[in-house]
């Protein structure tokens, strides 16, 4: 290996003093091994530079603008909260359990008594009819927008956080229990 190979990288970077650079250039014209090394170092440097550009592109490449995610999340949360508060229904109480004959029968009856009663003809009481349950709440779906709430973006976000004139409309489907069954955002 030539001693001048140690200076090849510095020569490529124009960091050698003029006299040493001239000496190296003279040597390079004649030395094939140094030419090969020079080409290799040049190629590595070029690839490294391209790699840095690729890293920058990959890191800064965004398909969605930065402000879309937080703004969408905030709007979604606000809309859901407002609509839940608006359409909240009182909780539906479960029907009271109706006592059945089996439940009223004493659990630990003496065996003798059962044996003696078995001779007596049983009188079968007709099952008491259960009280009718309240009719279930039907799914309420308004034909058109029931409530429309406008919240200016300036009152929620810092000035300039949202481009001027940008609005979102959130359409929510509310279930019988007041929960949100579906949500669709459209600009």
């Amino acid at each position: 290996m030539c001693d001048l190979q140690l200076k090849l990288v510095a020569w490529l970077d124009h960091e050698l003093p003029p006299d040493q650079a001239a000496e190296l250039e003279t040597h390079l014209r004649a030395c094939v091994a140094c030419q090969t090394e020079r080409d290799k170092y040049e190629h590595v440097s070029t690839t490294f530079h391209a790699y840095c550009n690729a890293v920058l592109t990959a890191r800064t490449h965004r398909s969605v603008p930065r402000w879309v995610t937080p703004v969408s999340g905030a709007l979604l949360a606000i809309t859901a909260t407002v609509l839940l508060m608006t359409f909240q229904q009182p909780p539906i109480e479960p029907p009271r359990p109706v006592p059945t004959p089996a439940a009223t029968r004493p659990a630990a009856a003496p065996i003798k008594a059962v044996a003696s009663e078995s001779a007596v003809p049983k009188t079968i009481h007709p099952r008491r009819a259960l009280p009718p349950l309240p009719a279930p709440a039907t799914k309420w779906q308004p034909a058109e927008t029931a409530v429309q709430i406008s919240i200016p973006a300036e009152t929620i976000f810092a000035p300039g956080a949202i481009p001027e004139g940008m609005n979102f409309i959130a359409e929510l489907s509310i279930g019988p229990d007041g929960s949100v069954e579906g949500l669709r955002l459209r600009p």
């Binding site: 510095a10 440097s45 690729a54 920058l56 890191r59 965004r62």
Partner: protein, 179 residues
């Protein structure tokens, strides 16, 4: 303008001159700084914050009459130090340089070229991961066009040390990744 008002106006004039100078420098150096910081391991948002802070510091520096010698090296040094300060654990963040799990946007003209380029970058990334921290930083600053003296200023190294480090790093990459 009276004689008394001139000394009062001087800071404002100096500030205005510094502002126009900083604006011109921002256009020139914003991308190299951003690339350096992102390649160091900062996220895009963090890197942009550091670049902004660095230029604000530069404006204060110039407005206060600070030295204008080697402004590029000064900016890279400030950005480098700010990037370090932002890391809760420098080695945790910087120990995995150049985004190990990154999906590159290949610029190859054909699908074959794109695949070859990605493969080349993958091998180079593996080789970079084997370099010492100072070697990586020297190469990154060299890729941004900084001279050895400027790299030494940024990293606090002697110029001869930078020359040795760069040469060693380039030879390691040439041996290991065979790009």
């Amino acid at each position: 303008m009276s004689d008394d008002s001139l000394p009062l106006a001087l800071p404002f004039l100096r500030f205005a001159a510094a502002s126009s100078e900083v604006t011109a420098l921002y256009r020139e150096l914003q991308k190299p700084l951003l690339r350096y910081l992102v390649c160091l391991g900062l996220s895009s948002d963090e890197a942009q914050d550091v670049v902004q802070d660095s230029f604000v510091s530069l404006q204060h520096h110039l407005a206060a009459g600070g030295t204008q010698d080697n402004i590029r090296g000064w900016l890279f040094r400030v950005a480098h130090n700010q990037a370090r300060n932002r890391q809760t654990s420098y080695h945790r963040r910087f120990g995995e340089p150049l985004a190990s799990q990154m999906d590159f946007v290949a610029s190859g003209a054909t699908p074959e070229n794109a695949v070859l380029e990605k493969e080349k970058f993958r091998r180079l990334r593996a080789a970079i991961g084997l370099l010492a921290e100072s070697e990586r930083e020297c190469l990154l600053l060299r890729a941004e066009g900084l001279r050895y003296r400027e790299i030494g200023d940024v990293l606090g190294l002697a110029t001869s040390t930078v020359a040795d480090t760069v040469e060693r790093a380039i030879k390691k990459l040439a041996e290991k990744c065979n790009v």
